[in-house]
């Protein structure tokens, strides 16, 4: 018999944080694959660079801190949180951004946003989003040189070419990033969201704008919303639904986010149908689904109670719509999420659930839900 004192409970359902992180990474794979199909190897290379940098930075930070705790270093580094942050950042970057963008971004995300605030579980802002915003503001040209989908590029962009572009800024044939972005007519192609915004500003109406090749390309696989991006968003949506089914994330945040985007675009459509894009366009363009299912649901930076999550999701949806329509940047998901991270502690404070036995008069008997008679086995 062992003679030590242990505290109950002695049983455990054997879930682990690292298992949770792994599940989220698996759910991201469909989206990454779709992105690779439409935009080539660029993002995959960025993801790899980011993962390497992130693990290295995590190793440095945890070694410095390991004097005080006794847990094994390898367990902590490979618990999946740093890898997840790096993957999210890699997905968000433009395909042919220079190599140092992802390295700086990953280092900032791990060292400053996560470890400086206390490590796992203590960061107030989502590291990937904070790093993305830092890069966007510091290196605007590199971060806004989005490539159009591969089908629209005239120059052949294989793996080797992508690699050289990322590391040197030019393809092996000598084409620059700018030239990659230009189509046959000589116009530089921007993302669908960007195109929509500028053209609406120039006075075109929606139905004219969406005729552009960047939106549909008249191909059989296009949904007519935003070429390439729509399928990527659908893939992320699928991954997110898998996570909800496995109870890895809470359903309140994504649902209220999408719902509030719907409400905002609906209101805008009723006011002026010719210059507001449809809800489905908003849902399936930019980083909407990625943000809804993978970033807004990050447990560390989101709200804790169910009511709180609904409020945060609604706030995020509203902010995304406002930034997309009235703001300076084409896609406002990153900014909206950071603002919601800021608001989460306050929302938590005001949405605490009622404890058993307190304020009993407010709960009437009719509120209690009946259950079926217990079945006798």
């Amino acid at each position: 018999m062992a003679f030590w004192i242990a505290s109950s409970p002695h049983n455990h359902n054997q879930t682990e944080t690292s298992a949770l992180m792994r599940l989220v990474i698996y759910a991201l794979l469909p989206g990454i694959l779709t992105q690779w199909y439409f935009f080539g190897w660029g993002n995959v290379i960025h993801i790899s660079l980011a993962i390497t940098t992130a693990l290295f930075c995590e190793f440095i930070a945890l070694s410095l801190r390991s004097k005080s705790n006794t847990k094994k270093l390898s367990n902590q580094i490979f618990d999946g949180s740093a890898i997840l942050t790096a993957i999210l950042l890699g997905i968000c970057l433009p395909a042919v951004a220079p190599w140092w963008i992802s390295i700086i971004g990953a280092a900032f995300a791990i060292l400053v946003v996560k470890q400086l605030y206390g490590g796992l579980g203590n960061n107030p802002f989502n590291p990937a989003m904070a790093a993305y915003v830092m890069l966007l503001i510091s290196f605007p040209i590199q971060m806004t040189s989005w490539l159009p989908p591969l089908t629209l590029i005239n120059i052949d962009l294989g793996f080797a070419n992508t690699l050289t572009t990322i590391f040197t800024g030019f393809t092996s044939d000598g084409y620059s990033v700018e030239q990659l972005k230009t189509n046959i007519d000589g116009f530089t192609m921007a993302t669908p969201l960007d195109t929509l915004k500028t053209n609406v500003g120039q006075g075109y109406i929606i139905s004219e704008i969406v005729q552009g090749r960047i939106f549909s390309n008249n191909s059989s696989t296009s949904l007519g919303l935003s070429l390439g991006w729509e399928w990527i968003n659908i893939a992320f949506l699928a991954g997110g639904l898998i996570l909800i089914a496995k109870k890895a994330i809470a359903w309140q945040s994504p649902l209220s986010f999408l719902l509030s985007l719907f409400v905002c675009s609906f209101i805008a459509y009723t006011i002026s149908p010719d210059s507001s894009a449809s809800t489905l366009f908003h849902w399936l363009s930019g980083g909407c689904m990625l943000g809804a299912f993978f970033i807004l649901t990050d447990p560390v930076t989101g709200a804790t109670s169910a009511k709180g999550r609904l409020i945060i999701g609604a706030l995020a949806g509203l902010l995304v719509y406002l930034i997309r329509t009235f703001g300076g940047y084409p896609d406002g998901v990153a900014f909206a999420i950071l603002l919601c991270n800021m608001a989460a502690p306050l929302v938590d404070q005001y949405t605490r659930p009622r404890t058993y036995g307190h304020d009993v008069e407010k709960v009437s008997i009719s509120e209690a839900k009946p259950i079926k008679q217990g079945e006798v086995k």
Partner: protein
């Protein structure tokens, strides 16, 4: 009420928030009958096996006890007696490790079993319906019955309430995994349990009796339904299996929809909850006159060869139970980073039980299970809580909490020792069920943090109460001391005033007592002075006269009668002496004349002012004389002292007091003179 009853009849129950579904593992023991064990060699009976106080000992070392004999008793209602589970001899009464998570030792009675199992005489009660309420409660109290569901609250206090309550709830849920003690008891002894319920019915007269039982006990449900089919009042309510349905507050909510207000007892909502095992013990006690001496214990776990429910006598050491069920300890061979070297043994279920510190820990009234798991069966029992990672705020803990708390926030505040925030977050509503720690992906031992925090807060509250009391005492003491000081001062003032009054009382010759004393003193003083100052010139007296006139304005400083009278008397005596020695007639005559004037006027107590003025004049004269004489610095002081010492022999106590006062005053005067002389010498040396 009506709506509640209607819903119960339709089997539409309520539900509570949260709850978990751990693997039940009840099949290890649920299909075997309850086994009778052979008697152990020794029984260890802690004096306190319940919430409350321990009773007073009735036996001593060496006594022979019979089965069922009371070993302790007490008049205190919170004390529950213990009884000898079998016959034997009391071999020791000393501290031993008790069945508590802390592993502390408390006083226990050791009984060496004589294997004869002789009962003490018992009286069977044929019809308990004839007993009065008081008799039943007394019988329950004397039989040592405490809540056997795990808490151990004295039953006689719980049922000692006004009859006509709303609900009597019988807790047959047994929601914790592995435990099947109540299940088997209901299968085998359902009639006795229903007898116990009838006794409670007679005591409390509830409007409704509800037996809450989980759906995973089909045989027990059938047995109970059969035993109660003729009693309208009793409803057997089958509930879905969820942990912790068996918690008192959760069970009340499920069956009646009523939430017991935080900090109050169910009886305040007119509900009483009793465990089925307690009902069985009540029926045994009232009908068969058997006190609480044994209980059903589930001995289970995959480290045992023959896991089974057993009838265990109270006080049986855990080692005996493990032996009888074939316990084989696992040896740790290869894994080197695990701190545990052999199998743990848990008293209670996996979620609320505590690990047993050594094999001598006895079975008590609240022990319902002994669990001996294998490493593969329950790996976390072997870990020692070493896998804790940071909280990632996933929120699964608050999803499962039956008290609707926020374990995440409680954990942050508990780690930060923020007691205010913990109380605000309702830490004391936590029922220690362990559901939050069960689901936590970061494997944080949440319940451990809450237990420590609760203990710290309680300790702090005790200290605060003590310091409040100490503060009140201190304030009272301060007040008292001040009052005493003021009273003392009053007394002194009064005494001084009365002294003064007697001193100032006029004596027969027209002068006051104080003046007579002063006169005597002065005479002595003057004698000394005159002896020292025979060679004084008239010129000095003229100067003195001039000085006197200029010194007059400063005289009003002399206010006290004593001072002036003393000075006047000194002057008088001096003048007399001078006159006797016939030195410098004119000056002396003037001084004598003046002094005579002073004398005559001093006899008349009405001319105080005159006396004062004359006294001042005389004082100034004397001062001037003293200043002239550089040599005689110390002598006036000592001479005055000598003169004063001579005088007391003829005077009474009051004179002595006055003399002391005069001495002090003269000292002050002399000191002033010294200072002045020093000053003048300094000036001259410059």
């Amino acid at each position: 009420m009506k709506s509640i009853i209607e819903r119960i009849k339709q089997n539409k129950f309520w539900q509570f928030h949260g709850g978990i579904h751990p693997p039940e593992q009840k099949t290890l023991t649920s299909d075997k009958p309850i086994r009778q064990l052979p008697l152990p060699k020794q029984l260890i009976l802690p004096l306190q096996q319940h919430i409350g106080r321990q009773g007073d000992l009735l036996v001593k070392v060496g006594d022979k006890v019979l089965k069922g004999q009371a070993l302790t008793q007490s008049k205190n209602p919170m004390a529950v007696p213990i009884h000898a589970p079998t016959s034997g001899i009391v071999s020791a009464i000393k501290k031993s490790v008790i069945a508590h998570p802390s592993g502390l030792s408390e006083l226990c009675i050791f009984i060496d079993v004589d294997y004869e199992d002789t009962w003490q005489p018992r009286k069977i009660c044929q019809d308990f319906s004839k007993l009065s309420q008081q008799e039943i409660i007394k019988k329950i109290a004397d039989s040592g019955i405490a809540g056997m569901g795990g808490a151990g609250f004295p039953t006689h206090i719980k049922v000692n309430t006004k009859p006509d309550i709303n609900f009597l709830v019988i807790n047959a849920a047994e929601c914790e995994p592995y435990i099947t003690a109540d299940d088997l008891l209901m299968c085998e002894q359902s009639e006795a349990i229903v007898d116990g319920i009838k006794i409670l019915d007679q005591l409390l007269n509830p409007a409704f009796i509800l037996i809450g039982i989980e759906a995973n006990k089909p045989r027990a449900i059938k047995a109970l339904q059969h035993a109660t089919k003729n009693i309208e009042k009793i409803n057997v309510c089958v509930l879905p299996t969820k942990y912790p349905t068996g918690g008192e507050k959760q069970l009340i909510k499920i069956l009646t929809g009523i939430e017991v207000n935080s900090g109050t007892l169910p009886i305040h909502s007119s509900i009483v909850v009793q465990n089925v095992a307690t009902c069985f013990a009540i029926s045994d006690a009232i009908i068969n006159d058997i006190p609480l001496i044994k209980r059903v214990v589930t001995v289970t776990g995959q480290a045992l060869n023959k896991p089974q429910n057993v009838w265990a006598l109270l006080g049986t050491p855990v080692s005996h139970l493990l032996e009888q069920t074939g316990f084989s300890s696992e040896e740790n061979t290869s894994a080197s980073n695990l701190p545990i070297t052999s199998s743990p043994v848990i008293m209670g279920g996996p979620l609320m039980g505590f690990s047993v510190l050594n094999e001598l820990v006895p079975i008590v009234k609240t022990s319902n299970c002994i669990l001996a798991p294998r490493r593969t069966e329950m790996p976390s029992a072997f870990d020692g809580n070493s896998n804790e990672v940071e909280c990632i705020r996933c929120g699964q803990c608050s999803d499962v909490c039956p008290s609707q708390l926020l374990p995440q926030e409680l954990q942050w505040s508990a780690k930060a020792k923020d007691h205010q925030q913990l109380i605000k977050l309702n830490l004391f509503d936590c029922i220690d069920c362990g559901a939050c720690a069960y689901v936590c992906p970061s494997q944080i031992p949440l319940v451990q943090y809450y237990r420590v925090a609760k203990a710290e807060i309680r300790q702090q509250q005790q200290l605060d109460i003590k310091s409040e009391k100490a503060k009140v005492r201190f304030e009272a003491r301060k007040l008292r001391l001040e009052k005493e000081k003021i009273a003392r001062e009053e007394k002194h003032k009064k005494a001084a005033a009365s002294r003064k009054a007697t001193m100032n009382k006029k004596s027969s010759d027209g002068g006051t007592a104080s003046s007579a004393v002063a006169a005597a003193l002065a005479r002595v003083k003057a004698k000394k002075l005159a002896n020292n100052k025979e060679n004084e010139s008239s010129a000095s007296n003229d100067e003195v006269e001039l000085k006197e006139e200029s010194a007059l304005p400063s005289s009003p400083n002399e206010v006290q009668d004593e001072k002036s009278e003393v000075k006047a008397a000194i002057a008088r005596a001096k003048a007399k002496r001078l006159a006797k020695n016939k030195v410098s007639p004119p000056a002396e005559q003037t001084t004598a004349g003046e002094i005579k004037k002073v004398e005559t006027s001093s006899n008349n107590a009405d001319d105080d002012k005159k006396i004062r003025i004359d006294a001042a004049v005389a004082k100034a004269k004397a001062k001037a004389k003293a200043n002239k004489e550089h040599v005689i610095e110390d002598q006036p002081l000592t001479s005055i002292e000598d003169e004063i010492e001579v005088s007391p022999q003829a005077e009474d106590k009051k004179a002595r007091i006055a003399a002391a006062v005069a001495k002090a005053k003269a000292k002050a005067v002399a000191k002033k003179e010294q200072a002045k002389q020093l000053k003048s010498t300094n000036k001259e040396s410059e």
